[in-house]
């Protein structure tokens, strides 16, 4: 098989996981930077609307590498989707498809369900929940927890920090609670 065809197929976990893990030493060794992505959201606040809030009064310019990094992530998303797109259809576990169908999801063609993440939903109750409320909880929660999956689960656990283990467990508990206890009720609203 041609190399490019191999790259275009979805990458298994044992390829993707180690590559993500290697981001930790790469950032440390090229510039003494601790891996963490949610900080970028804080830098955006500090740069654009500090509003005299002490939490946003720091030298964000020193941390501008983090903003370059997330712009890179955005560009990487574009490049992978444009030039390395998977030639086959998206393979989701049949159990998940069955569960989500029961919740009212109909379109399983893309990486994101068109039933939820469509621009047409932007100014509806659905949009309010999935874009506005969801995004707000991600931003508020990661900052309160002092990091997200990259800063705590990957960087923190790599450095054997037990507070990061607490945070990571709470991330998972929150996710399970939303998926199994709250989402079924949310989906009935629409």
């Amino acid at each position: 098989m041609e190399f490019i065809d191999l790259i275009r197929k979805p990458w298994p976990w044992y390829v993707a996981g180690p590559l993500i893990g290697l981001t930790v030493p790469t950032l440390l060794l090229i510039g003494n930077k601790s891996f963490g992505i949610s900080s970028s959201l804080r830098h955006i606040c500090a740069a654009c609307m500090p509003a005299n809030i002490p939490f946003f009064q720091y030298n964000w310019k020193k941390e501008i590498w983090n903003l370059f990094f997330v712009v890179g992530v955005l560009m990487g998303g574009f490049l992978a989707t444009t030039f390395l797109e998977n030639p086959d259809s998206f393979q989701l576990s049949s159990a998940t498809i069955a569960d989500l169908k029961a919740l009212g999801i109909r379109d399983f063609s893309g990486l994101m369900p068109a039933d939820l993440f469509d621009a047409a939903n932007l100014f509806t109750l659905k949009g309010l929940v999935f874009f506005v409320l969801g995004g707000f909880m991600v931003g508020f929660g990661t900052r309160w927890a002092g990091g997200c999956t990259s800063g705590h689960a990957i960087m923190g656990l790599s450095n054997l920090q037990w507070p990061s283990l607490v945070a990571t467990c709470c991330f998972m508990v929150g996710g399970f609670a939303m998926t199994h206890l709250i989402l079924p009720h949310l989906m009935k609203l629409f």
Binding site: P12, W13, G17, G21, V24, T26, L28, L29, G31, N32, K33, F35, L41, R42, I44, C45, A51, I53, P54, F55, E63, I64, W65, N66, F68, F69, V70, V73, L74, M75, G76, G77, T81, F90, S93, L111, M112, P113, L122, V129, F131, G135, F136, V138, G141, R143, A145, C148, G151, G156, L157, N159, P163, A167, G174, G175, F176, M178, T179, L186
Partner: protein, 160 residues
């Protein structure tokens, strides 16, 4: 309970510990690492809302494999850097930051988890989703910025 802003508030959790000043163009290194990271995100489909649902429904090992192997590789790398005192490219000692426990890791962690399952994304994948053409996710990102800002505003009133 601590209701006073400590100097910790002014320290970033993913700080820049480089002592030498970097030129503006040196930042392109981090852009390149970000690009590679974004490509992995898309190719492993971990930016997918469906995959996150699959994970929280325990119906696939994929996400656990990705996160688990990333942590193992990260742990080994950090151990090697510490064990052999590997220096950065500019010859500095690599800095690590012990994380202090506070109740925010519990309350904030749970809140983030709730949002994670709704949006199907953590902060990193949000950027990759937008790059992948899900332009509407800009709304989610702006909401996440608003959430971060609201945290900064309310910080003194929240349990830590």
């Amino acid at each position: 309970m601590q209701n006073v802003i400590t100097p910790d508030a002014l320290v970033c959790d993913a700080p820049n510990d480089m002592k030498k000043t970097e030129s503006w163009t040196a930042n392109l290194k981090y852009l390149v690492v970000g690009v590679m990271f974004g490509i992995v995100f898309v190719k492993a489909e971990i930016i997918s809302w469906f995959r996150i649902q699959e994970m929280f429904r325990l119906q696939s090992f994929h996400m656990y494999g990705v996160i688990g192997s990333a942590i193992v590789v990260g742990m080994i790398s950090v151990w090697l850097i510490k064990r052999f005192n590997i220096k950065t490219m500019s010859g500095e000692t690599v800095e690590f930051h012990p994380k202090k426990f506070n109740k925010g890791q519990i309350f904030g962690g749970l809140l983030f988890g709730l949002g994670w399952a709704i949006t199907g994304a953590c902060p990193g994948p949000l950027f990759a989703q937008i790059g992948s053409g899900y332009v509407v996710i800009i709304t989610t990102l702006l909401s996440a910025v608003a959430g971060t800002w609201a945290y900064g505003y309310l910080r003194n009133k929240l349990p830590h």
